[in-house]
């Protein structure tokens, strides 16, 4: 393949695309240092006061904490169920396997607004009060397919022989899982966990429908957009979250690849 020239049409298109995607984000980050409550040019002055006042914004920090809790909980549960589903799909040939795979992947294609309304109705019927738990439940549902697909891909990549070898040497199915399958799949599991956490942390639609008195961060931010003098705080927080998300995703992707390198593939 020829290396694309700097002046080619392809490169120009790529540059435009990158600008379109990331310019708003970069602007936000720039404005978080701006000494003004209005998001306009020209800049008034460089300041760190918005970052400083973050520590006093009680409601804002509570929302952050709630989002973290919901993210951790839903990711943890999703990893457990998603891994179990992945083991079933990748290692067993059972009747209804294709159907199971389709059903488990369904949340990927359902619009979150539709899912949110449906779950709201369900909880109302069953009499469950809206709270962070209902949000976490919804986030678990949408995260399970991601986990299942990431882990199943990993399991398919390494040989079944390793598991037979473990059983041959005396490990029961559970022993084989604990000593061979899960340790080798660990990078994929962690990557799936981080990916789920990021999805949950950023998720708005489901949280909007299913949150009770405690807000998650996206819902709180949305509610603050009406107050212009609060805007810089919001922008500052957004900048921080952006950075953390990027770091998490990069780390997660690196982890996902690390595991695939030293495992023998089926020849």
């Amino acid at each position: 393949m020829r290396a694309p020239s700097i002046f080619s049409f392809g490169f120009a298109y790529y540059l435009l695309l990158a600008l379109f995607l990331y310019l708003p984000i970069v602007l936000l980050i720039i404005f978080s240092f701006n000494d003004s409550t209005l998001l306009v040019f020209p800049f008034k002055g460089f300041t760190l006061k918005w970052y400083q006042s973050l520590s006093n914004a009680r409601e804002l920090l509570d929302a952050v904490r709630n989002s973290i809790l919901v993210g951790l909980f839903s990711s943890f549960v999703a990893v457990i169920f998603g891994t179990m589903a992945a083991l079933a799909i990748a290692r067993f040939n059972f009747p209804g396997r294709s159907f199971f795979l389709a059903i488990s992947s369904l949340p990927l294609v359902i619009p979150y607004v539709v899912l949110g309304v449906a779950m709201l109705l369900l909880f109302a019927q069953v009499g469950v009060e809206l709270s962070l738990f209902t949000v976490a439940a919804a986030h678990t549902v949408i995260n399970i397919p991601y986990v299942m697909l990431i882990v199943a891909a990993r399991l398919a990549g390494f040989e079944q022989n390793l598991e037979e070898a473990a059983m041959d040497l005396g490990a029961t199915y559970w022993g084989m899982l604990m000593r061979v399958t899960l340790p080798i799949s660990a990078p994929a599991l962690i990557a799936a966990f981080l990916s789920s956490f990021t999805t949950s942390f950023d998720e708005f639609a489901l949280a909007f429908f299913l949150t009770g008195t405690d807000n998650t961060l996206p819902v709180y931010l949305y509610s603050q957009l009406r107050f212009p003098n609060r805007l810089p705080l919001v922008v500052t927080l957004a900048a921080i979250i952006m950075l953390v998300s990027v770091i998490l995703i990069v780390f997660s992707e690196w982890l996902r690849r690390v595991g695939t390198k030293d495992v023998p593939r089926t020849s």
Partner: protein, 372 residues
């Protein structure tokens, strides 16, 4: 009756077809084997003959559709691999990539809960045995193919299994290394007095290492015997053809006497002592003779002797291979025979030239009569 280490009684294994319309596939059928303790027993056959399936049935990775697998006289039906006193060396080694060599070798001991000191001692002893004493802290992907294979062997042996199963373990090694490992494995087996069940498609490997060989094809066992018996007295045409080089001649039974059979072969009449078969008159059979058992002579100096059979023929081709000369002889019926004459005193290379008329002869005992 001595105790058998492994027994297979009337074992069948079918795999269900992927769609209901197609027939179920017989991987192996009517397998009956009795393997003695301390024996080096080989399952030999071409790809797809069922030898690996048979091994997996003994290991416990498959359960028989019909019949019984017994290890040390205990039935293994329904018993999973982790409760059988066997260990397997896999064709692609199947070493755990996330563990060091020492942790790999000690895996079986860890699972059993052996103490750390005991485990370290036994692991080191196993590594010494396979001549990899320093490899303990390395990872499998840092080792060569031959070294990985030896780690796989150590990992199996350290558990002191009753039976060791080896699935074409030398297949991935180059020729020279393979030959060395064949001798090493044989020595190890004799020293440890373990029962080895070995799977291979390489007939030379099987002849070199085994106490007994079971030749398989298309899911069936064709013959079981010591290497010499398999080679000198093949039971079927397939066995004769698969092991070494063989000549085949068509023959018709003319007369069945008290001790001998008269056959019409290649325009000549031949008498052979009875072998194990009962032959009927006019039956069509196949004679097999190994090329190295055939001798050539000049028609003018040849004198037929008792207990020999001979044919007239013409030399079609001669090939010099260093240790032997290979002659392709055409018989009057246009069948051909290959003769291998060693280039030793009394037989100069090029003794017979293409086009020469020769007498092809061999001892009666070197001819086998096959009906299948």
């Amino acid at each position: 009756m001595s105790e058998f280490a492994v027994e297979l009684r009337n074992v069948f294994k079918t795999f269900s077809a992927p769609n209901s319309a197609a027939q179920d596939v017989y991987a192996v059928r009517e397998i009956n084997l009795a393997i003695h303790a301390g024996e080096f027993f080989t399952l030999l056959g071409p790809s797809g003959c069922g030898k690996t399936t048979t091994l997996r049935l003994i290991a416990g990775f498959e359960q028989p559709t019909k019949g019984e697998v017994l290890i040390q006289t205990r039935s293994m039906n329904g018993v999973p691999p982790y409760r059988r006193p066997v260990n397997t060396v896999f064709q692609n080694y199947a070493l755990f990539p996330h563990l060091t060599v020492a942790e790999n070798v000690g895996f079986g001991l860890s699972v059993k809960g052996v103490s750390k000191e005991e485990k370290a001692k036994r692991v080191q002893a196993a590594l010494d045995l396979v001549e990899l004493p320093q490899a303990g802290n390395r990872k499998p992907n840092q080792l060569s193919g031959g070294q990985q294979q030896r780690v796989a062997l150590a990992r199996a042996i350290v558990n002191q299994p009753a039976v060791l199963l080896l699935d074409e373990p030398l297949g991935a090694l180059d020729l020279k290394l393979r030959k060395n490992m064949q001798l090493e494995l044989k020595h190890m087996q004799e020293m440890l007095k373990l029962t080895f069940i070995y799977v291979t498609h390489d007939q030379e490997e099987a002849l070199t290492m085994s106490d007994r060989i079971a030749v398989m094809n298309a899911g069936n066992i064709l013959q079981v015997g010591a290497p010499m018996e398999i080679y000198e007295k093949p039971a079927t045409r397939f066995v004769a053809d698969f092991i070494g080089e063989t000549n085949f001649l068509n023959a018709r039974v003319e007369e069945v006497g008290a001790e001998v059979t008269g056959l019409q072969v290649a325009d000549a009449r031949v008498t052979l002592p009875h072998q194990n078969e009962f032959l009927a008159r006019d039956a069509q059979v196949t004679l097999t003779i190994r090329p190295e058992k055939i001798s050539l002579a000049r028609p003018e100096t040849f004198s037929a002797q008792d207990a020999h059979i001979s044919f007239q023929g013409v030399v079609r081709e001669t090939v010099y291979i260093g240790t032997d000369t290979r002659y392709l002889i055409a018989l009057p019926t246009n069948e051909t025979l290959v003769a291998r004459i060693q280039n030793i005193a009394g037989h100069r290379p090029g003794e017979f030239a293409t086009g020469d008329a020769v007498v092809v002869w061999c001892e009666q005992g070197d001819v086998r009569v096959l009906t299948t």
